[in-house]
Amino acid sequence: MESNVMLKNGQGDDRPARIGVYVCHCGKNIADTVDCGKVADAAKDLPFVAASREIQYACSEPGQNEIKEDIENLGLDRVVVASCSPRLHEPTFRQMMTSAGLNPYLLEMANLREQCAWVHMKDRDGATDKAVDLVKMSVARVRGLQPLTEETIPLTKRSLVIGGGVAGIQAALDLADNGYEVVLVEKRPSIGGMMAQLDKTFPTMDCSI
């Protein structure tokens, strides 16, 4: 689209943005259903894309290193990882961005596993077309992303435990023994919960209280 527009790279200077796209095979999880080569090729000529490649396991140490090397060698400043759900690995790749000296919010993920390969296993062409679209959408989005910074706020070093059964008691004791103040709330007149009503407990057959 606006390929003639100068896109700020978010790094403070005004060189045009350089985007890296990585299409993950996830072993066979994605590659069995989606033609990852075709997807990577489709992203190659999109505006501001400087590199678009397949990768075996993006989340693995070697996978992350491969991306980090590209960031360094090709001067990438934005990254699209087309792999699994961001609910799983967005924190992983944000950390990778930070360790490569980039703002973690200049990362975008395309969900090719949970929402593509795994749900269209019998339709390779349909899944590949969808994957191409998802990656193109991610590239469009990553172009528009802006660097953001996290703020730190003070935190109260106390914990509330709701329920005074065996789980609540154990959690409260572990926290308290580590030096944290705990408020333990129990609706009945005594703590103990169900466990207090039991005679012996398996597998050791000892007293519950």
């Binding site: 759900s85 998802l134 193109k136 528009g144 706020i153 509330l160 009945r188 703590i191 919960g193 009503q197």
Partner: protein
């Protein structure tokens, strides 16, 4: 238990319930109602003089009604705090003319009828939800005769009957004649693994609880005849198979098959009919006593707490963890953790394990004394703000202040803003930017998606917490559906601006789906109410413009509803096919005229 009662770092509040939680990770403001005990717990020595003179007799809940207690009572001998408690709805009152006998005999003068409920406010950085379980109520499954026959007991009642501290000092007796039964039968899966009544899930603990009970009974009464009727015996844990083997070696008879009927005989023993699936034969057996192995249900307080903390539940009604394998004790709400049966049915060992894990996760969050907040918050563009006050009205967190009268532009409290984006979607003047989910970023995705062959594609918006997670769950479950939907993730369905929808139709989208958390389950309190209103508004405009309103769909899919997500996707495909190229062209033309 006593360790928790006397630990200097633990403030123990019994007879207490959380009534409200405000704030966010690191700084939750919690309101707790502490009900009056009417006994000064710090003074009470648990001597029991008060209970001796109390004239009111009631069933003892601790012994599941198998014994009695007074209106002033000790919950059980090892209770913590070790203090008596008075039930005001049972007590005759403090008027000396009526009763007040307990006050007269109390040597420490620690009974106070004027005690009132307290409202307590606490600030905490993290919350551990350990609300436990409710045993299944067997009255619902009355084919086993629990309400009709004296000698049909629940597993919890048996537990109290064989307990040395229980109503019979551990002697097993039949309720009908107080004689020791010569034969006992156990029926497994009462309230579990049934699509009809109770839960469809396995309650995890009942097999081993029965195996344990058979060992306890065989130890006390070596000649007792025990039969266990089961579907499967699940002895999967460490040391479990050993116990199961030991039980069988002691002569306990395990029979695969669940009784079809139970009849009471004249001597109050029970005749059961069961199909022994090993032989295929229907067998009749007479037993002195029958025990129902009760399943586990979520605690009654689950629902209220879920709404208060914005948590999610599985279809079974237990709390849903952030990730089933990688974050099994974290809630999706940051700073909230699960321990014990609140998350799923589990035994003592697993409850303790999860509790320690939850404590470790909470410490990991708190140890630095500060936390980093996500910068995904809304930002006001001051010179565009017309001070109309809409954003402040829709914000579920009251994070926006705007002075409508004095025309002072809106201000966002970034620490209180949770980032749902409803304000940005509702602002009519484009005066609010939602960080990381800006109008440009989202319309960029929409345009790219619809650049080629838009008629083949379904534009889908899904909220991060429920619907996007539900779509992921469909993937994890390998549920197959047509590949024509393309999903745009937003934090909340409340972020889906009207202009994204019009942009989609203008660019030729045949069908648009907006999907969010179920009403009442919204991760941002009630932001999805605004989604409903907005979609209704757009539907009306669509009708006015002659656009079929079915082409904009609104669906609620929770994080646990992978099946539902796949069903929604399958249902959309025929709808998409029904939208012709001509219809799309007409819509595009109508909308162009509008501009």
């Amino acid at each position: 238990m006593t360790d928790a009662g006397r630990h200097p770092n633990i403030k123990l509040l019994t007879l207490s319930e959380v009534t409200d939680v405000k704030g966010y990770v690191g700084n939750f403001k919690v309101r707790i109602r502490k009900k009056a005990r009417y006994v000064d717990a710090s003074q009470c020595t648990a001597c029991g003089d008060c209970a001796k003179v109390c004239p009111v007799v009631r069933p003892d809940e601790f012994n599941v009604g198998l014994s009695s207690r007074k209106a002033i009572y000790s919950p059980f001998p090892q209770a913590v705090p070790s203090a008596y408690v008075l039930n005001p709805s049972e007590c005759l009152g403090h008027n000396p003319a009526v009763c007040a006998k307990c006050v007269e005999v109390c040597g420490k003068k620690c009974i106070d009828f004027h005690m009132s409920d307290e409202e307590i406010e606490e600030t905490v950085g993290s919350i551990i939800v350990a609300t436990g379980l409710e045993p299944y109520d067997p009255r619902e499954l009355d084919e086993y005769g629990y309400t009709r026959f004296d000698n049909v007991l629940s597993s919890l009642e048996l537990e109290r009957l064989v307990n040395a501290g229980g109503p019979t000092q551990g002697h097993l007796i039949r309720p009908s004649d107080r004689k020791t039964p010569r034969s006992v039968g156990f029926i497994q899966c009462v309230g579990s693994r049934s699509a009809r009544k109770g839960g469809e899930y396995c309650s995890n603990i009942c097999c081993m609880n029965t195996v344990k009970s058979t060992l306890v009974l065989k130890e006390h009464y070596p000649d007792i005849d025990i039969k266990v009727f089961y579907i499967d015996i699940r002895a999967f844990g460490k040391g479990f198979e050993d116990l199961f083997k030991r039980s069988r070696r002691l002569g306990v008879n395990y029979l695969r098959g669940i009784p079809g009927s139970v009849e009471e005989m004249p001597d109050k023993s029970l005749r059961i009919a069961v199909e022994n699936t090993a032989t295929g034969a229907i067998e009749f057996m007479d037993l002195d006593m029958l025990v129902l192995a009760l399943g586990v249900k979520p605690s009654k307080s689950t629902r209220r707490l879920q709404e208060m903390l914005g948590l999610q539940l599985t279809p079974d009604g237990f709390f849903l963890e952030a990730h089933p394998k990688l974050q099994p004790v974290d809630a999706a709400t940051r700073g909230v953790f699960y321990a014990g049966c609140a998350e799923a049915p589990k035994d003592v060992k697993d409850s303790v394990t999860q509790a320690s894990a939850a404590a470790a996760r909470a410490i990991r969050l708190m140890h630095k004394g500060e936390i980093t907040t996500e910068p995904i918050t809304s930002v006001i563009i001051e010179d565009k703000c017309k001070c109309c006050g809409k954003c402040a009205e829709v914000c579920p967190y009251n994070a926006i202040t705007v002075d409508v009268k004095k025309k002072i532009p809106a201000v966002v409290n970034a620490a209180a803003c949770a980032g749902c984006g409803t304000c940005a979607a509702e602002c009519m003047f484009d005066a609010i930017t939602m960080n990381h989910f800006t109008d440009e970023q989202i319309t960029g995705q929409v345009n790219e998606l619809l650049a080629e062959n838009p008629e083949d594609k379904i534009l889908t918006f899904a909220c991060n917490w429920c619907s996007y997670a539900g779509a992921d769950y469909a993937g994890v479950s390998r549920l197959q559906y047509p590949p024509n939907a393309r999903l745009i993730r937003v934090m909340c369905s409340g972020r889906v601006d009207e202009k994204f929808i019009w942009e989609g139709f203008r660019k030729g989208a045949p069908v648009i789906l907006v999907s969010g958390c179920h009403i009442g389950d919204c991760h941002y309190i009630d932001a999805n109410h605004w989604t409903v209103k907005r979609v209704e508004k757009i539907h009306k405009k669509m009708e006015r413009l002659g656009i079929r309103k079915e082409r904009l769909q609104l669906e609620w899919v929770s994080a646990a509803e992978g099946i539902r997500w796949a069903e929604v996707m399958r249902a959309l495909e025929p709808l998409r096919k029904s939208v012709t190229k001509k219809e799309i062209d007409e819509t595009v033309a109508v909308l162009k005229k509008q501009k």
